[in-house]
Subunit: 180 residues, 2 copies
């Protein structure tokens, strides 16, 4: 029971998609008045900070349709229905970078946009990378370039806004706080 809980009076489904579902909920506010909340449901996702033995960082560059531009990001991907986050992280690491690992550390998790969406991202870290003998296939509609970047290159990419998403900027700060 939260102090400012908003009780659902009615939930109206708007859209069911592959990535998101959308509903509009009528809610009762803490003061007894009513309002509406636009809600996006998302399966959740993982992201992986992957560090090579010579202290470079594996990053992927891909086109992001909502922004109509390419961004450089930490390897990441959506959870499939019922998939365990650590298995998803290993799968995405293998598919997007061609490396695997026996040692994935769960660093933390975070909500990306709590105001309208329930997406939760699990962030993993590994500095124990092993190249795959055989490269895994990406999803059919996925096209990414792999970059192996130094900390100086990450900093410059943030200035240039080739890195411009919050999870990757968080990952870079985390690496600095860990002494990289």
């Amino acid at each position: 029971m939260c102090k400012y809980e908003e009780k659902t009076i009615k939930s109206t489904p708007i859209f069911k998609g592959r990535v998101i579902d959308v509903s509009v909920d009528d809610v009762q506010l803490p003061n007894g008045e009513t309002s509406i909340r636009e809600l996006v449901k998302h399966q959740g996702a993982v992201a992986i900070i992957a560090v090579t033995p010579d202290q470079r960082f594996l990053m992927v560059e891909q086109f992001r349709k909502p922004l109509e531009k390419q961004l450089i990001e930490v390897p990441a991907g959506k959870l499939e229905s019922g998939e365990a986050p650590d298995l998803c992280a290993l799968r995405e690491l293998e598919e997007e970078t061609g490396f695997t690992t026996n040692h994935l550390e769960l660093v933390t998790s975070f909500y990306t946009t709590p105001g309208f969406c329930d997406e939760l991202i699990y962030l993993y870290f590994t500095d124990q990378l092993v190249p795959l003998e055989e490269k895994k296939a990406l999803d059919e509609d996925e096209f990414v370039d792999l970059h192996t970047m130094t900390m100086e290159e990450l900093d410059q990419a943030i200035v240039d806004r080739r890195i411009h998403d919050l999870k990757t900027m968080y990952a870079v700060q985390l690496l600095k706080l860990r002494g990289y």
Copy 2:
């Protein structure tokens, strides 16, 4: 012209709301195949790191309907149509905290969920707070508690997941990197 650009073949509007618009786009992939992209449009937002003279941090606690729980976050809010981000930041600071400032530094900006949404957040910083003589009204459907927290309390709230959103966790990292 991006290497992996996805050209829009057709855009189908699904929903137009107060906070988000949703569409489903048919796109042509770089390999000539087609796919669909579920896209959420958002006006963008601001967030403010506000530091008191005794090195405490102003935070707001509010109920987040998508998560069905209360979170502690940096003061933040949506851009109104055509609103300049710095004016929005000042407005949200005044409404949510009861403080104002003559000195707002734009620290950076970031996309929160580039995979499906174009929301861009502008992050501001101020350590020059002046209490307002008269408190400003919140939005009609907004209920928040103000917290004035130490760095130790922020760290504990992250452990306890009362702070669990990415922009606030990024802000705490940024403060540490600035020596707080």
